[in-house]
Subunit: 306 residues, 2 copies
Amino acid sequence: MIATWAMAYDGVKKASGELKNNISAADALEIAIKEVENHPFYKSVGYGGLPNEQGIVELDAAFMDGDNFNIGAVAGMQDVKNPISVARKLSEQQFNRFLVGDGATAYAQKNGFERVNMLTESAKSSWEKRIEEMKKSELSPYDGHDTVGVVCLDAKNSMAAGTSTSGLFMKMQGRVGDSPLSGSGFYVDSEIGGASATGLGEDLMKGCLSYEIVRLMGEGLTPQQAADKAVYEFHDKLTKRKGKAGAMSLICMNTKGEWGVATNVEFPFVVATETEEPKIYVARKGDGHSTIIEEASQEWLDNHEE
Amino acid sequence: MIATWAMAYDGVKKASGELKNNISAADALEIAIKEVENHPFYKSVGYGGLPNEQGIVELDAAFMDGDNFNIGAVAGMQDVKNPISVARKLSEQQFNRFLVGDGATAYAQKNGFERVNMLTESAKSSWEKRIEEMKKSELSPYDGHDTVGVVCLDAKNSMAAGTSTSGLFMKMQGRVGDSPLSGSGFYVDSEIGGASATGLGEDLMKGCLSYEIVRLMGEGLTPQQAADKAVYEFHDKLTKRKGKAGAMSLICMNTKGEWGVATNVEFPFVVATETEEPKIYVARKGDGHSTIIEEASQEWLDNHEE
């Protein structure tokens, strides 16, 4: 299992332990993402996520089954405790698999998913503070796009991919990034591998990078080669055409459990394999189209903990 | 310019005339799609579109600029006359380019886009009739997924792609298909070409077929070769993994104005080029991975008119 951001550590630890007991990739992925969604300290996913410009937490999530390509997704959903579980449930339907706005919220309600007011006191304070700051300055109100994305392989060689996020802090009502969009936020094929993205959704959806990385792995590239090629070539292309490219960080894993990461910002992530315990790494762009990946140092971990 | 379905004929005719006066691909695309949106007889796009299960018309649209990859999109928007124009306007923003549900509707309202109750008497009757039928039978309530998709090349070699749809008839509130999703419903790169899709969104988003066709054209395939390869290989893959594949029809055009189409159902479409007047063709799957394309016969056109 590989997952975006250090916040995924506890979830990966819990889920990878269960994977050793032969649970499915889909179950493990849901366990890992729910753990992140439930944690009040993570300001960009689930409970405790920072709200939109109106002070309302809006949630996006997606689930994809690599065996049969079933996809379920929600966007702009409100006050549902575990968006990833709603996305997974939707993936089992024949139609109406991607629901947005009030329709997504109503579906969750009708199907018995737990409702929670997802706005914590801490998130509310951040929002009020930012509203005050915005009155005083011309600074862009937008930051924070730390989607939790997970790719998982199980003992029976099934794979799953999924995402969950509260999106950009101070986003406009109903704004959706790449996270619930197939091919951009996630993609997985159990015969090849899977990928997931985090970063500026508005730019990520221009590149379909999760699809492209899986496609390249299918052509025989290692996960690291596929991630490097897809991410840095698209970063260069977008920079040439638009003058700049937003933050983009991609994770991937193939059917052998080999993994890769590419990013144009400093990007922590978590990996657990059959032989290695869950560990936090930090990636950054190297020279040319390469990525430097190191285990997170004790100093880095202490800072993160704080 | 190439566009999905015979309903695009009037729009393509109007827009291709303007293209000869050197308007931009983006302007021409907006003209063509607005013409379809405004027509009350077309039951799957804009005014006159068939409603969701609650009797409300919900609209999805997207716009992509092939020069700089700017994308704007809306989904689950209500009572806005021209969704394509809202999508195009959103594509010019740095953030918040994809808006869903009430957020999309509120954005259109705040930005002065014309409001119209998009439910026509005819669409309302169809909905009431279907509700009655559903009480009597076990038939699937879902049909109709005729998205208008357009790919356009202008005299300055800029390209644009866009889509507009009211989605599946009787869809659940907030259901979104592939139409507003980058890479699935549309994709365009002015240095290569563009593509757009129509069919069962739930299946189309599993293949990222618009992105894949553009990518294949970038590798040197003709539009027809790219469409055949992407669509029929994915149709076979999905059939193998799931036992079946929904309707999928893709159009594409490259930077020379050459075009291609592939489809697993009978699929009419419209093309206008520098040297040829707008014309309706009908495509169907041929032997192997090939497509049979013929000009629509007078009999076909008469039936369509009726």
